[in-house]
Symmetry: C2
Subunit: 241 residues, 2 copies
Amino acid sequence: MTEREDVHNSDVPVLCRSCEARHKGICGALSEDELLQLSKHTVKRTAARKQELIHEEDEVHSYSNIMAGAVKLTKLMPDGRQQIVGLQFAPDFLGRPFQSESNFGAEVAADVKLCSFPKDVLESMLGANPELENRLLRQVLKELDEARQWMLVLGRMTAKEKVASFLSLIANHIDPEHEGDSVTFELPLSRAEIADYLGLTIETVSRQFTALRKDGVIEIEGNRHIVVPDRETLKDATGST
Amino acid sequence: MTEREDVHNSDVPVLCRSCEARHKGICGALSEDELLQLSKHTVKRTAARKQELIHEEDEVHSYSNIMAGAVKLTKLMPDGRQQIVGLQFAPDFLGRPFQSESNFGAEVAADVKLCSFPKDVLESMLGANPELENRLLRQVLKELDEARQWMLVLGRMTAKEKVASFLSLIANHIDPEHEGDSVTFELPLSRAEIADYLGLTIETVSRQFTALRKDGVIEIEGNRHIVVPDRETLKDATGST
DNA sequence: CGGTGGATTGATACTGATCAAGAGCAGTGG
DNA sequence: CCACTGCTCTTGATCAGTATCAATCCACCG
């Protein structure tokens, strides 16, 4: 159940064969039989920017794998203040096991492809397949690490350091290798969303973008296109290690 | 492996019999055999306030169960800024599975009793006992929920709301039942630690304590002793739901 | 009795929020 | 084809909340 060769295996459901996330995501832990069983209840779908996937405090009856795109997890205060508490990309797992009511909302940030299936189907597999649970555990641990890193950002960094941290996060996500070189990317979030992620206002985010540009840390083309000539310089601007 | 009766069972290791955390913590998933095996490598110890349990970025070779007391998880910036990224109580599990180097430091906040065992012993049990992994997964999910809730506190709340949130957190921990009534407790953290938890300075924390006292939300006796006459009022002061 | 560590309180400074105006750009319809 | 509209982003001026700096208090201890 740990290693297998199924690249040419016709037992793999059609639905799954083209899935780039299959080996990296939690599905990598599933046997052909399990994949087949899961795929019977699976719906592939796309969702566009701004579409709400989960409403905070609503009951959720399905989980999803993110196959492409980006999803933001949000928390809302009664008076409208909002905080983004997580950003997920392919091949992340979306959902909160062992709890029907969601603690946060989920909204599409950059157009996504999702692979959704009912909660109970996955949960019964969870009991039967320890490796699946292991993969889930590892993903949740990763998210916990990220959340705690972000607590440092939110609690102790200046506005400029926060924005640099955000850019650094995206840069590392785009290209996890060679941390030193230059990178270019499209921001998956609007200024307003970045502000909600960093606990700032739109105006402050905008000002810090221009400040970083004037410092030569980044170049900005259009609104979303960012060039980081030297990632080491960017990292220095975060004030963190 | 899901239900068992071992209250009077003499096969339960002596070390574990007196442990109040045994059924609630991850050990609740272990059979007598496993408990025995684990207990052979286990060291019970106490540690006093301010003692460092894990140094950030150091290698860790053991896990612990917290049997009593409180532990704070901290992150440090190169220039000395600090953020507390988690607070753990009995019967929490302390440690980061599947990773030898710690992402954060751990320091005793209120004198603790710990039950420590080598990483590899637990990890081999993890592979063999799915229920153990399940318990761990649930604990990590709980911590992730808490971390995200705290991201909202850090990112979007005012100083007064932050302090009220902290007091609310402690109050709920002391007495998870009847959320409406009054509670009295000793703070497990100093003002400086509370400041590090809330992303504030000592002075601001102190001012907000007096502000909440003047508002009649809390009463303060000595430095650490807090009385909350009405938890609903305190909750209102957090600005959150 | 002086010393030490933690907490409070006050005066002032500064970072980021708020309020306000305008620029850039895409889409729409006359 | 171009004015109009709506949206996002930027920039400027001012305000407010929290940090910083400094003094004092308090409890405890040697």
